[in-house]
């Protein structure tokens, strides 16, 4: 039987639930970290604390008297900081190897603005050198999003930065739909005669509206088709005889879970003007929204707070506009926090060469500009997990969660700090990369 869209949806994994791991490796070892300053994120900081990991999960977090099971590998973390693995809320990890070399880039399908049927997991290159490089600074989870050249460039995946293979690293396929409303999607490149629809914000909004209407119409057709035929004259079922199934359209089908509010749409908006239009569109189609960007929407922070929507912030390094103060962007996290907005940081940014490994420093810089330290830490751990719907597994040091744990020799948000141990799903990951190998090789020469 042909898969109807309704059926296809049922086979998809529910958003945010990790895929069951293949029994490819022996169970993650029993490990205890002892004596460190344990930043749980969810329930404060424990001096001289203990964290126990078994079978890939955190099994205990507590003070010095916490029982350490017999047979555990005990790591003395005295003088160290212990904290949950850091969560980057947008990267291109596994989609791009070398920015300027086209053949190594898989982040955008530029032929059309509407590409919701693109799945990051189809291109995710688990062996990218960028993953071990990022891991060394304590990044254990990331949202991989497609590029921002299209209005609907595809669906994001949630990854874990280590796994027996790429399959296990993809712990949330199609976790959200990326939607860029930053006006750079306008096909207005080159001279006037080369412009292409949509070339204005009006065109952009209209094209999206039409796409969503088409998807709803498509759903109606399938719903009609799937509806059991009215039973008259004692017939058992007339459906198969009389109805022709509608033609399947993967593009429109991909939008259905989002139009049903089952999964979030990540709405990338940089400016106030676009914010209003994009939010109206989202409301019109009852989309569940995570806002992203807002870098130049400072005058609308109160309105943003009133929406109660969560926000993903890029690094705050972007330049202010000419009519903005020098510190306008720097202060964005502190200003959002003051208004009670829940937000998480992403290392990805349109305008700067940024890397996941700098995520903690980006959060630290928000502290320099007024964000409380605890909030900055949350914005790269628990807030991210909550916003992406995986707080049951990630984001804090709590028994029952995935054992993604980092041990460093100091404040995780400070540049000087060195990460000493990284555990992903309870396994210690070697702090090696192509870069450390080059370092070691040439140091000897």
């Amino acid at each position: 039987m042909l898969l109807s869209p309704a059926f296809a949806q049922k086979t998809q994994k529910p958003a945010g639930k990790p895929a069951p791991a293949k029994p490819a490796l022996p169970p993650a070892p029993l490990t205890a970290l002892k004596g460190g300053k344990v930043v749980t994120v969810s329930h404060g900081t424990i001096e001289n604390g203990v964290v126990v990991m078994q079978d890939g999960k955190i099994t205990a977090v507590g003070g010095p008297s916490t029982a350490i099971p017999r047979g555990a590998r005990v790591i003395d973390a005295t003088g160290m900081w212990v904290y949950p693995g850091l969560f980057d809320s947008e990267t291109r990890l596994g989609l791009s190897e070398i920015q300027a070399v086209d053949m190594t880039n898989d982040s955008s399908e530029p032929s059309d603005e509407i590409m919701p049927h693109m799945h990051v997991y189809d291109a995710f290159h688990a062996e990218t050198e960028h993953i071990p490089i990022s891991r060394i600074n304590g990044i254990t989870n990331a949202i991989v999003a497609p590029g921002d050249d299209d209005t609907l460039p595809g669906q994001d995946s949630l990854i874990q930065l280590w796994g027996p293979s790429g399959e296990e690293m993809l712990i949330g396929k199609d976790i959200a739909l990326a939607m860029n409303f930053s006006a750079n999607q306008r096909r207005r490149r080159g001279s006037f005669e080369n412009w292409k629809y949509p070339s204005t914000r009006m065109g952009l909004a209209t094209q999206l509206r039409q796409t969503f209407l088409d998807a709803l119409d498509y759903k109606r057709k399938w719903d009609d088709y799937n509806k059991p035929a009215e039973k008259k004259d004692g017939d058992k079922d007339k459906k198969d005889d009389k109805k022709t199934p509608p033609k399947r359209d993967l593009k429109l089908e991909a939008l259905l879970p989002y139009l049903a509010g089952e999964r979030p749409v990540v709405l990338d908006v940089q400016e106030s003007t676009d914010l209003y239009t994009a939010l109206a569109l989202a409301r019109e189609f009852k989309l569940r929204v995570i806002l992203k960007g807002l870098t130049h929407a400072q005058i609308n922070l109160d309105q943003i707070a009133a929406t109660k929507l969560p926000v993903i912030l890029g690094p705050i390094y972007e330049q202010p506009r000419d009519d903005e103060r020098y510190d306008a962007v720097y202060k964005l996290p502190a200003e959002l926090h003051r208004r009670g907005v829940k937000f998480a940081f992403a290392s990805y940014d349109l305008y700067a060469v940024v890397q996941p490994r700098n995520l903690p420093y980006e959060a630290g810089y928000a502290v320099a500009w007024g964000l409380p330290w605890d909030e900055a830490m949350k914005a790269i751990t628990l807030n991210a997990a909550e916003i992406w719907g995986v707080a049951g597994q990630l984001g804090s040091l709590d028994a029952g969660k995935t054992a993604n744990v980092v041990v460093s020799n100091g404040d995780p948000l400070d540049v000087k700090t060195d990460v000493k141990h990284v555990f992903i799903a309870g396994r210690e990951v070697p702090l090696e990369s192509r870069q450390t190998r080059l370092r070691d090789e040439y140091m000897k020469r």
Binding site: Y317, Q319, V367, A368, V415, K416
Partner: protein, 474 residues
């Protein structure tokens, strides 16, 4: 560096005058730069009213452009109570710094200063020299590359200098007080740079670093390859890159010989000697060969450093610094032996093929092997927080505090050729000073006050834009 090469502005004046004079006068030496007058010392360029000392009103974005009183350069300030990071002689806890007439007069545990000096209490704060960016493209409004020919040493960056660019102010607010504004990397030899102090709000010439030597920017590798190869022109390869450069220097040698012959003849009183035609491009190349310009080279790969050094030896000029230089760690001993400095990123990598072997330990490995290393921005973003970028060398490679600070102060000052004037808290140097709220080599510090030549050019506590001398409008 010759004391007669004082300022870019003076240089341009002379170039302009030379155009008039060329027909009548016989220049004894083709490059005009040798004849320029000295620039007046700082603070004496234009008599100006004293600053009011009143903070600028918080006029938001509505205010009309409004110039405030200019700084005099004659302030007397004592900064007390902070921890000084002197760069040259370590930390001084609870130290004092005395500034007068635009210069640092004394630095120490205590200083002798007259009662008339304004006292700034920096208790609990940190005091460093102004940060120096050895590689910036701000204030050029996109006029960075004359990407129409691979050899354009006659391009003068000052002709494109946008002194009203807010990038200058944003960098200032990040503690950067001096920058080398360079051409882009489209051309093998791109043009002649500008050295500025970030005196945002003042007139163009007030921003020019008095007495700074002239730098010239070279580039090699993927950028010129892409620009010219993309047009099916030479250079499309690294071989092409260097062939074009050698050819240019060869022509410059012949040009110099013509002028030498001519000068020799006229000196002997030969009235019939025919004056060679002046050529700005060849003049500039001749200046490189005569060692009159600091050669700053954009290049990435180990093989390129070796080729660049070989060509410099072949034609007899010195290279001041490799910029980017992401693979210097592979041949650091050879680079150090040639006395070439490195102006690099702390951790950028992988954005293009020639950046694929970049490692964040480059700065420290190269430093340990004897290379003078600076962390630079090449970015209107990074130039606003060079302190954080330098702190990364403490993380990657274990640079000490002094070493990390040196990479954003004294070492870039040397690369620019102004290390005798700026880059450390030492008596006699220009009073370019930053007061930070937190330990500067961290994620957490922001500048509270920035002094240039003894005048307060940025004050975070001020409303509006934090600029004492200028309100919104530029």
């Amino acid at each position: 560096m010759s004391p007669v090469r004082r300022s870019l502005f003076a240089f341009l004046l002379v170039v302009a005058l030379a155009a008039f004079a060329a027909a009548q006068q016989q220049p004894s030496n083709p490059p005009a730069q040798t004849q320029q007058p000295e620039a007046p010392p700082p603070g004496q360029q234009q008599p100006a009213p004293a600053p009011t000392g009143e903070p600028a009103a918080d006029s938001g974005t509505q205010a009309a452009p409004q110039k405030m009183a200019k700084p005099t350069g004659h302030n007397e300030v004592v900064i007390k109570g902070g921890t000084l990071l002197t760069v040259t002689h370590g930390r001084i806890a609870n130290g004092q710094l005395y500034i007068k007439d635009g210069k640092i007069v004394a630095v120490g545990q205590t200083v002798q200063a007259p009662a008339s000096a304004k006292v700034i209490d920096a208790t609990g704060k940190w005091v460093t020299p102004g940060l120096i960016d050895a590689h910036s493209h701000i204030a050029l409004d996109g006029d960075v590359n004359e990407a129409t020919s691979p050899i354009t040493p006659q391009m003068i960056m000052l002709d494109a200098f946008q002194y009203t660019d807010k990038g200058i102010y944003r960098a200032l607010a990040g503690g950067t007080t001096t920058s080398l504004l360079l051409h882009g990397s489209a051309n093998m030899i791109g043009g002649q740079a500008v050295v500025i102090k970030h005196k945002y709000g003042m007139d163009r010439d007030d921003l020019l670093f008095p007495g700074a030597p002239q730098s010239i920017k070279f580039a090699s590798g993927e950028n010129p390859k892409r620009v010219y190869g993309g047009r099916n022109q030479t250079p499309a390869t690294r071989m092409g890159n260097f062939a074009v450069m050698r050819q240019a220097f060869q022509e410059a040698r012949e040009y110099m010989r013509e002028w030498d012959d001519y000068n020799a003849k006229t000196q002997k009183g030969d009235k019939d000697a025919k004056q060679p035609k002046r050529d700005l491009k060849l003049d500039a190349l001749a200046d490189i060969l005569r060692g009159k310009l600091l050669v700053q080279i954009h290049c990435y790969r180990a093989d390129e450093f070796l080729t660049e050094m070989a060509i410099a030896h072949e034609f007899g000029y010195k290279i001041r610094a490799f910029h980017h230089g992401l693979e210097v760690y592979k041949v650091a001993d050879k680079v150090a032996a040639d006395g070439v400095a490195l102006a690099t990123f702390s951790d950028w990598y992988g954005y293009k093929m020639e950046a694929n072997d970049a490692i964040p330990w480059n700065a420290v490995i190269s430093m340990r092997k004897g290379v003078r290393v600076a962390i630079k921005s090449d970015s209107d973003d990074l130039t606003r927080r060079l302190n954080q970028e330098a702190a990364k060398t403490m993380h990657y490679g274990g640079a000490t505090e002094d070493e990390a600070m040196k990479m954003i102060t004294l070492n870039p000052a040397w690369i620019i050729g102004v290390d005798d004037k700026v880059g450390s808290l030492d008596a006699g140097k220009d009073a370019d000073v930053v007061i930070w709220d937190k330990y500067p080599l961290s994620s957490y510090a922001t500048p509270e006050k920035v002094f240039i030549d003894g005048d307060l050019f940025f004050d975070k506590s001020l409303p509006g834009y934090g600029m004492p001398y200028y309100t919104e409008g530029k």
